[in-house]
Symmetry: C2
Subunit: 294 residues, 2 copies
């Protein structure tokens, strides 16, 4: 985001940023408004920097026996000389759900799936490096041989959550250092079991950003209110483990209303107070997206 | 920059950001402190995200008859399917100065030089696309055939300013949309001529970030004070042209003391007032790098 037009709380139109690719004149107000969830002003125009579409893309999946093995693959890619454009992980329940609908042989080779994409002039060579790294760690690798097969593999990621037998009570968006992936996945499993839930997991694993969910499969003796209350307690426990692992409560979707309860635990008292003070400068009467974040 | 430890004006230690690659919890305080030039707090620790060193690098130079032709090359690269890691421009006086010291044949083929580097698994292929684009626009292209030759070409960029006959009075750091490069280079030439100066130019052309300078070559009848005063007026005129071209007064080096005079012209009254209000929250007694930027 190079520049923004923002309507301020008093009705003035503020222009932030610059039209040049580089520019460091004054404070980065553009960055301050980006991700502020409407609490500082109303963005009415954004100037974006575009990148060229990749000249070539290579897609592969690698299947592992469990999350620990797949996470070791993610860690190995992080220290290998590669920069994948996509590195996604699907957990056991997601893979089991896909098996019911997809005939792809590779889904039968293990329970946890990594989907990796490389791009650029050396996409094929880089994908082969990725494949070698993951195969060396026990992954069963399938590199897409053409666009149709690549689309088939990408479709796994797009449709993993479409399981009609599974009802999601709460979906998370936590992010942790990549070294902590296994710890968090194990916490998800333990917490779900303790509360009588099933769970499911997709992760932007290359970024350490996880979307675990606590789910109900089939009938449950609890009332809806009891289920919702238990799901929130489960989420509290997962957030506590995430923060203990050096992570944060939202990797990409924001704080909104639900995550206000964990906001100060995450950023700390001093940061929360400072953020409220900065908001007070821009929104002294609290009229901008009231009730969100703070 | 993923995270910062910042000592605030009242002595508290603030932690911003997160250790995960992604994270959008609350306002981007890390971004607010980065580039604030010490006016909001004292950074005592920074957590940086590292990228892997490139597996391969390809280096080339293209020489053009004039800046307009070279800028057309930069524009063509911007819309070509390439993403160079370096795209630097050296103007006529810089190239003339290099010719005195370097035997490189390509420096005799034209007056304005582009230095381009690509990297990654497809670096060679991408460099050939760059070479074809620039040659198609009349550039005389030389692709380095080995690391020694690449080092020789990079050395041109590193040493362009080392001309003992040339004394720099003021060096600029303006940035403009890439479409405005020629306009600004022509303005530099006109302004220098009007004030009886020589000029020199290097630019991070791929980013639209220019480092023109107003120089004295040989004896000048003016006193040192008269020269400095004239250089500042020349800079005033260049900044006015930069802002009229949609640019900004500093692409990478910051406002500091010298550029305070143009700060409000660049960001506007509303933004300047807002930035002062935000600074007042963090530095109510004005003890942090006083006199800078604002």
């Amino acid at each position: 985001v190079l520049a923004l037009d923002v309507v301020l709380a008093d009705g003035r139109l503020l222009r932030t940023g610059h039209r040049s690719i580089k520019g460091v004149t004054g404070l980065d107000l553009t960055g301050l408004f980006v991700g502020s969830e409407g609490t500082l002003g109303v963005v009415v125009r954004a100037t974006l920097r575009l990148r060229p579409a990749p000249v070539a893309v290579s897609t592969l999946v690698a299947v592992f026996p469990d999350v620990a093995a797949a996470a070791a693959g993610v860690a190995a890619l992080a220290s290998a000389p590669v920069q994948p454009s996509i590195c996604e992980l699907l957990g056991e329940t997601a893979v089991a759900s896909l098996r019911k609908r997809s005939p792809l042989e590779v889904l039968r080779a293990g329970d946890v799936l990594l989907l990796v994409q490389t791009d650029g002039y050396g996409a094929d060579v880089e994908a082969q490096v990725v494949a070698d790294v993951l195969a060396g760690l026990g992954g069963v690798v399938r590199v897409a041989s053409d666009e149709a097969e690549a689309a088939e593999l990408l479709e796994l990621r797009r449709t993993w959550g479409l399981d009609p037998e599974r009802r999601r009570l709460i979906g998370e968006d936590i992010a942790v250092p990549r070294s902590q992936l296994v710890r968090i996945v194990e916490a998800v499993r333990d917490i779900a079991a303790r509360h009588g839930f099933s769970h499911s997991l997709a992760a932007h694993a290359g970024d350490g950003n996880l979307h675990p969910s606590f789910d109900v499969v089939g009938p449950d003796p609890r009332t809806e209110a009891e289920l919702q209350e238990a799901a929130l307690v489960a989420a509290d426990e997962l957030v506590a483990e995430t923060l203990a692992a050096g992570g944060t409560i939202t990797g990409e979707h924001g704080v909104g209303v639900l995550k206000r309860r964990w906001f100060t635990d995450d950023v700390g008292e001093d940061s929360a107070a400072l953020q409220r003070s900065l908001k007070a400068v821009l929104d002294p009467h609290g009229i901008l997206n009231p009730g969100k974040v703070y």
